[in-house]
């Protein structure tokens, strides 16, 4: 070992350490800036109504959960809208997941004519701008007496989420080895039995992602809801959008209400982040 080499090694290690330090610094700065709005929104929700009368600062003054109690128990419109959203989104998810699984299985495994054409047409359903569809739905639901019912909303969400759920699930079905089904068929299962009893249990993670996607996207929808719901069944997003106008002066309710409306989807996204990221990158899904 000569001294020269040791010095060189030290230099290289030193350069690496500096590079690493810069990387960490950059990550911390970028992440902080990126997450600041959401984190600040949470902090601001801890203010009491009086504390932010003059404006909302960086940190909460005397943090309390008062505003949460006020929004949840004091504003019936808000809690009702929250429950409406829950009902609609759960029903949509329950309807979409089994139907999408069946269709996805057909696209992944069964052979039939016009497969590509049928898929393309379904996919058109996904890209068609909501307003083009919701306008006739509005007049139709008025005419059928179904305006302002959860039924119409559930149907609309199901239809617009089926194509993308199918795409998501299809990938999972493709990853199941064909031999598994063939063995089941040899043992005397019908195609449907092989699908339901053998394949579906193997794609549980896929079913979980499809369910979470469906729930989050329907929870966050605004355009269908603002047009198809009235006072009775308005969803949380519609209620929030109206509060922005009405509560213009009451920032406390607005911030806390807004934050509460984000909680369900953010929690789900955190719990299933690994799968959601997979879905985002493979399915090309942006809400």
């Amino acid at each position: 070992m000569n001294v020269f080499n040791e010095e060189r090694i030290k230099k290289v290690i030193g350069a690496r350490a500096i590079k690493k330090a810069i990387l960490y610094l950059l990550i911390v700065i970028v992440m902080t800036m990126f997450l600041f709005p959401m984190f600040w929104f949470f902090l601001a929700s801890l203010n009491s109504e009086e504390a932010i009368r003059g404006g909302v600062g960086l940190l909460p003054v005397n943090p309390t959960l008062d505003s949460y109690a006020k929004v949840i128990f004091g504003i019936p419109d808000f809690s009702k809208a929250f429950i409406n959203s829950l009902i609609v989104c759960v029903c949509t998810t329950v309807l979409v997941v089994p139907l999408a699984s069946m269709a996805a299985y057909a696209f992944a495994r069964l052979r039939f004519r016009y497969k590509r054409l049928i898929f393309f047409i379904l996919w058109m359903g996904y890209i068609i701008p909501t307003l083009a569809v919701v306008t006739p739905m509005y007049f139709l639901s008025q005419w059928l007496g179904l305006y302002d019912t959860v039924f119409v909303l559930i149907l609309c969400y199901s239809a617009s989420l089926l194509p993308i759920s199918i795409w998501l699930l299809r990938g999972f079905f493709l990853s199941v080895p064909r031999e598994v089904e063939e063995a089941a068929r040899v043992d005397g299962c019908s195609v449907f039995q092989a699908f339901w009893k053998v394949v579906v249990p193997l794609v549980k993670p896929g079913i979980a992602v499809a369910a979470v996607f469906t729930f989050i996207v329907s929870w966050n929808d605004f355009l269908f809801a603002i047009i198809l719901t009235g006072a009775r069944t308005k969803t949380i997003q519609v209620a929030m959008a109206q509060f922005v106008g009405e509560w213009g002066v009451n920032l406390s309710n607005l911030i806390t209400g807004g934050f509460i409306s984000m909680v369900p989807t953010v929690v789900l996204a955190l719990l299933f982040q690994k799968y959601i990221i997979k879905g985002l990158t493979e399915g090309g899904i942006k809400g």
Partner: protein, 295 residues
């Protein structure tokens, strides 16, 4: 599996086809046909088939060009901002560091929030007495009327839209980055390629499909922006309306149909928008899905 009977695919697909056609397909066809009618609920006006008159009216509508300009301006700037941020985040998250899994999970969060929630959040951030203005004051400037001044509110809207799009674009680009084989990078390093050369001849060409799909999806999302506009500019009240320089085409169509009840005319605007979105979407579809469907 050989020779499945035709009955099975039908059984598996029928419920989906019925719902998607019944709820999306049929109304879409109907709304397209209605765009050739004059439909108004304001008593005195006549209703009837007018051919392409609505479309001609749209082309001659002096406001539509301002609105198209607003939409394009908003879309381009949002996409540029989204891409700069997403590229930075994707390259950072591609490095190995402690806490990378947590960082990725946190980057995903804005994806999960709604347009309305996001709009509310940015509206309070940029409130006249809000935290951004406190920062502005701390830096020694006067309070800025973020939500009242047209250029400033445009900036807030672009920021809010990009915030929602960044997670999606970041993960798509990141997935593209991870597909570049590690040993390829190593071997170019050994061959003495500079970082810039590597970026130009290796990283960028291999990243192109991911960039394309992120670009197309975010463009479509921006063209169809609605809820952020509704919350931040219209103040939630229908009568308020999006103020002039921020009114975009989707919002204009909505307003024509549901505020002024010019249904036929509003629908013709929506279908012009559909045509634009459709072109983008077909490019996207053929680039990503098409090859994979038939194995």
């Amino acid at each position: 599996m050989r020779g499945p009977k035709i009955g099975y695919p039908l059984l598996f697909l029928l419920p989906t086809i019925i719902i998607v056609f019944g709820v999306l397909g049929a109304p879409a066809i109907y709304s397209f046909s209605q765009s050739f009618y004059k439909i108004s609920f304001l008593g005195a006006e006549t209703t009837g088939f007018v051919g392409i008159e609505n479309y001609i009216k749209a082309i001659n509508d002096p406001r539509i060009y301002d609105i198209l300009y607003n939409t394009i301006f908003f879309t381009i700037l949002s996409v540029v901002l989204t891409f700069s941020l997403s590229l930075l985040l994707a390259f950072l998250l591609n490095e190995e560091f402690r806490g990378r899994t947590i960082a990725r999970a946190l980057i995903l969060l804005p994806w999960a929030i709604s347009g309305v929630g996001n709009g509310t959040m940015w509206k309070t951030l940029f409130n006249y007495h809000g935290v951004i203005n406190e920062g502005v004051i701390a830096l020694g400037f006067p309070r800025m009327p973020w939500l009242a001044d047209p250029p400033l509110i445009r900036f807030v809207l672009i920021l809010a839209q990009s915030y929602l799009l960044v997670p999606f674009c970041t993960f798509v680009i990141l997935a593209g980055l991870q597909e570049i084989p590690k040993n390829l990078i190593e071997s170019t390093k050994i061959d003495g390629a500079s970082a810039l050369q590597r970026l130009r001849h290796l990283t960028f060409p291999m990243l192109k499909p991911a960039l394309m799909s992120a670009l197309l999806v975010s463009t479509i999302v921006c063209i169809k922006v609605f809820d952020i506009m509704y919350v931040i500019t219209a103040g939630g009240g229908i009568t308020g309306g999006a103020i002039g320089p921020t009114r975009v085409i989707y919002y204009y169509g909505y307003e024509q149909i549901f505020v002024f009840f010019r249904v036929g005319y509003g629908l013709s605007i929506i279908w012009i928008l559909c045509a634009i979105v459709f072109v983008f979407s077909v490019v996207y579809y053929t680039a990503t899905y098409s090859k994979e469907i038939v194995q």
